[in-house]
C-alpha cells in the first residue's frame, strides 16, 4: 500500500514537472535524447536525495537538471560554447504540446524561439515555463537579477518582432 502511494506520488510529480524540466534541459543539451537522459538523472537524484530539502522544488530541480547537463557534456567531451550548442539544437521534435487550434502559431513560436540568442532563450524558458523568479534565474545562471530581467525583455521583444515578420511573410 505504501509502495503504491509512493509510486503514485512520484508519477504525479513527474507528470507535473517532467515537461517543464525537459524543456529546460533542452536549453543545455544538444538533442532530445540527451535532454531526457539529463531529466532522468536529475529527477531520480532529486526524488531520492533532495526532495526533503527546504526550498522551491522547481528551483532545486532546475539546478539539478543544469548540473546533470553539464556533467553529461563533460563526460562525453562535448563541452562546446553555448552558441554552438544552440545552433545544433534538435529542432525536429516539437517543443510544445500540439493543439488542434493554433498549431501554426505554436510552430511559428517554436521557430522564432530557435532563432533567439541562447542566453535570451534560456532566461525566457526559465521564467515562463520554469516559473523561476529573476532572483532565482540570476542565481542559477550566475548573473544579476537585473541582467536576467533585461534578457527576458529582449527575448520577448525579439520574439514579437520575429512573429510579426512571420505573419507578414506567411
Amino acid at each position: 500500500m505504501e509502495e503504491s502511494t509512493a509510486h503514485e506520488s512520484w508519477t504525479t510529480w513527474f507528470q507535473l514537472y517532467g515537461p517543464k524540466l525537459l524543456l529546460c534541459a533542452r536549453q543545455w543539451t544538444r538533442s532530445l535524447a540527451d535532454a531526457e537522459d539529463v531529466v532522468q538523472e536529475a529527477f531520480v537524484r532529486y526524488w531520492r536525495n533532495q526532495r526533503g530539502l527546504p526550498g522551491e522544488p522547481m528551483a532545486l530541480l532546475v539546478t539539478s537538471v543544469r548540473r546533470a547537463a553539464f556533467d553529461l557534456a563533460r563526460r562525453e567531451g562535448r563541452r562546446t560554447t553555448r552558441e554552438e550548442r544552440a545552433s545544433e539544437l534538435d529542432d525536429r521534435v516539437a517543443v510544445f504540446h500540439a493543439s488542434l487550434d493554433g498549431d501554426e502559431r505554436r510552430a511559428a513560436i517554436e521557430q522564432a524561439m530557435q532563432r533567439l540568442p541562447a542566453e535570451q532563450r534560456e532566461v525566457l524558458v526559465l521564467k515562463i515555463w520554469g516559473e523561476l523568479t529573476f532572483d532565482q534565474i540570476g542565481t542559477e545562471l550566475e548573473i544579476s537579477p537585473n541582467t536576467a530581467a533585461s534578457r527576458y525583455r529582449y527575448a520577448l521583444a525579439a520574439l514579437r518582432q520575429e512573429l510579426k515578420e512571420a505573419d507578414c511573410h506567411g
Binding site: 505504501e2 506520488s9 517532467g18 515537461p19 531526457e36 531529466v39 531520492r48 526532495r51 515555463w129 514579437r160
Partner: protein, 167 residues
C-alpha cells in the same frame, strides 16, 4: 513592459511544454518505481523540510567522518585508477547505533581527470614527475528500515610525486 509584450507573455504561458516520452517515464519508473519505499512527501508548492532538523544535524557529522575517511584512505600507487566500490565506508560506520540508523552502503572513487604537471626536483636532487589526479568520492548511507538514503560527494585532488630513474 508594454501591453503588446504582456499579451505575448500570456500567450507563451498558455503553451504547454511537450510531455516526456513513455520511454523516459519507463526508465524513471525502473529506477524509482519498484524500489521506492521512502516516506511520501506531500505534493505542495515550496515543499519544505520533510525531514526533521535532527536528521540533518545527526547526519552531517556522520557524512563528514566518512568524507575524512575517504580522503585519508591509502590509494594504490601502481599507476591504475582506484576502482569503484572501495570498502572504506566500513571505516566510517562508527556511530551506527545513533538515532539516525543510517548505515554506509557504498563508497566510490571516480577518477575524472589526470594530468602530468612535468618534472620537479626533490630536496635530495632526485628528479621526479608530478602527476595530479582528480577524483569525486561518493559515499551513500541508507536506513534499512525506511530505505531513506543520504549521498555525499566530495571532490578530491591527489598529487603524486614519482621519482624518475635514468638508466
Amino acid at each position: 513592459m508594454d501591453e503588446d509584450l504582456k499579451l505575448l507573455e500570456a500567450e507563451l504561458t498558455r503553451l504547454q511544454p511537450a510531455a516526456p516520452s513513455r520511454a523516459l517515464f519507463a526508465r524513471v519508473e525502473r529506477q524509482l518505481g519498484a524500489a521506492e519505499r521512502a516516506p511520501v512527501v506531500p505534493l505542495r508548492a515550496g515543499a519544505g523540510a520533510a525531514r526533521p532538523a535532527w536528521f540533518w544535524a545527526l547526519s552531517a557529522p556522520l557524512a563528514a567522518a566518512a568524507a575524512l575517511a575517504v580522503m585519508f584512505t591509502r590509494v594504490p600507487t601502481d599507476g591504475r585508477a582506484p576502482s569503484a566500490r572501495a570498502e572504506m565506508a566500513r571505516a566510517a560506520s562508527a556511530g551506527d547505533d545513533s538515532a539516525t540508523a543510517l548505515k554506509p552502503v557504498a563508497a566510490e572513487n571516480v577518477l575524472y581527470a589526470a594530468s602530468d604537471e612535468g618534472f620537479v626536483t626533490l630536496d635530495d636532487g632526485t628528479p621526479a614527475r608530478r602527476e595530479r589526479l582528480r577524483y569525486v568520492d561518493t559515499i551513500t548511507w541508507r536506513n534499512p528500515r525506511t530505505n531513506a538514503s543520504l549521498t555525499w560527494s566530495v571532490p578530491r585532488d591527489e598529487v603524486r610525486i614519482v621519482p624518475v630513474l635514468f638508466q
